[in-house]
């Protein structure tokens, strides 16, 4: 679903070796870097962190939506939601596989998530209180994810870029099914429309935070842009998202919870009000509405599945002994 500019500060030591210069020249020439190629240690570390946290976001992202599978209002909606949640699991797996090509073990990444050392997108620490939230997540959260992920299809690291191409192809279904849900509610009874409006009110600001801190605070962007891991700044992507989304919301007949939102004819952009970055930092630091619940659910799934993993390995070992 989404990688967030999580901006863990990493003292980027300037590498002045001839290898580093050759590496940068390859990047500048738009060559892709493949797993066994020489790469600066900081490039490897940055990618392992970004790809694994992106994978964690996909996996944790299954939880808020999974919450509504049994209560979807029709079989059509239920089938679509099941397929979407399954896709999120798949996206997590493509991304874990891409990260593993850099020499980190799957088990190590899972351990980092469960122990709280690795982060995931702040958006999944908000609760899904009504069915309208499922539509709104598809429309806004997946919409924001697409904005962020399309440039990642041209990321300098080959396996990440290839995984993102697969992800983006599937993400479009997610956004359209979400918008259809919100549209149906917006054209429904006054109570249904109110439900859609309430969901938009609660999700709008957290969605704008998904793009990460403003460029003025972003320690990480410069190096990531130089390495072509990142192609656009947080603020540029956020503006792109707002410009694309506001007219879609107006078509639904909904209003955005931002009194400062207005179209600036001179720049051709929608201008929006100040984002509450204190809330963003709080949620990222572990103090959002659902942080503890999400990690507890992941831990339980991991623990409950342990006997299955062990049994599968024991069975494989037994079959191998028999064949020998």
């Amino acid at each position: 679903m989404y990688s967030q500019a999580l901006n863990t500060k990493d003292a980027a030591v300037a590498d002045t070796s001839p290898e580093a210069a050759r590496f940068q020249a390859r990047i500048d020439a738009e060559e892709r870097i493949e797993p066994n190629d020489w790469m600066p240690e900081a490039y490897r570390r940055t990618l392992i962190r970004q790809i694994s946290q992106h994978a964690h976001s996909e996996v944790v992202g299954m939880l808020p939506e999974g919450n509504w599978i049994t209560r979807a209002p029709s079989l059509r909606r239920k089938a679509a939601l099941l397929a979407k949640v399954q896709d999120e699991g798949g996206h997590g797996l493509y991304l874990y596989a891409a990260a593993e090509t850099l020499g980190v073990a799957r088990e190590e990444m899972v351990d980092q998530l469960l122990s709280g050392r690795a982060k995931y997108s702040s958006i999944f620490n908000y609760p899904t209180l009504s069915w309208a939230d499922i539509g709104t997540i598809g429309w806004l959260v997946d919409g924001a994810a697409i904005m962020n992920q399309i440039p990642l299809c041209r990321c300098s690291f080959g396996p990440y870029a290839r995984a993102m191409i697969r992800v983006c192809r599937e993400e479009s279904f997610h956004q359209r099914q979400g918008y259809e849900i919100v549209l149906t509610l917006a054209r429904g009874t006054p109570a249904q429309k109110a439900m859609a409006q309430d969901a938009l009110n609660r999700w709008w600001w957290p969605c704008l935070m998904m793009f990460g801190p403003p460029d003025t605070d972003s320690q990480h962007s410069d190096t990531s842009m130089r390495w072509k891991i990142k192609r656009f700044t947080n603020d540029a992507l956020r503006q792109k998202f707002v410009d694309a989304t506001v007219p879609q919301g107006h078509f639904l007949g909904l209003t955005f919870p931002d009194p400062d939102l207005r179209f600036d004819a001179a720049s051709g952009h929608w201008q929006f009000g100040a984002i509450d970055w204190a809330e963003f930092r709080r949620v990222l630091a572990g103090d959002g509405p659902c942080n503890r619940e999400r990690l507890a659910a992941r831990q339980k799934a991991h623990d409950d599945g342990a006997w299955v993993r062990e049994a599968a390995l024991a069975h494989a070992a037994k079959q191998q002994r028999k064949a020998a």
Binding site: Q86, G90, L93, Y94, A97, R106, A312, L313, H315
Partner: protein
């Protein structure tokens, strides 16, 4: 924790095309690897045939040896049809 083996996944999109590498999965054995590859890489009719290969069975050339492995062909331009002159009157060949 025991690490579950890694498998590389190849998908044939349709008959007439070669199997193409699409990614990898973890699985305890070949049967489960095939099942996982189906679930992860072919949810939308991406293929008609799947291969899974234990990742540690793949022998790869080292990118550091790229020069000695592949550069010698760079100077052998006589391996290409355009190296040879054929008069225009002869027509397409």
């Amino acid at each position: 924790m025991t690490n579950t083996p890694l498998w590389e996944v190849f998908v044939r999109a349709r008959n007439g095309l070669a199997h193409k590498h699409v990614g990898s999965v973890h699985a305890a054995d070949a049967t489960m690897a095939l099942q996982a590859a189906r679930d992860v890489y072919t949810r939308r009719g991406e293929g008609l045939s799947l291969w899974v290969v234990p990742s540690n069975a793949i022998v790869a050339s080292d990118p550091a040896d790229r020069a000695e492995m592949f550069e010698p062909t760079g100077s052998k331009i006589y391996r290409h049809p355009t190296f040879y002159e054929v008069p225009e009157e002869v027509g397409h060949m």
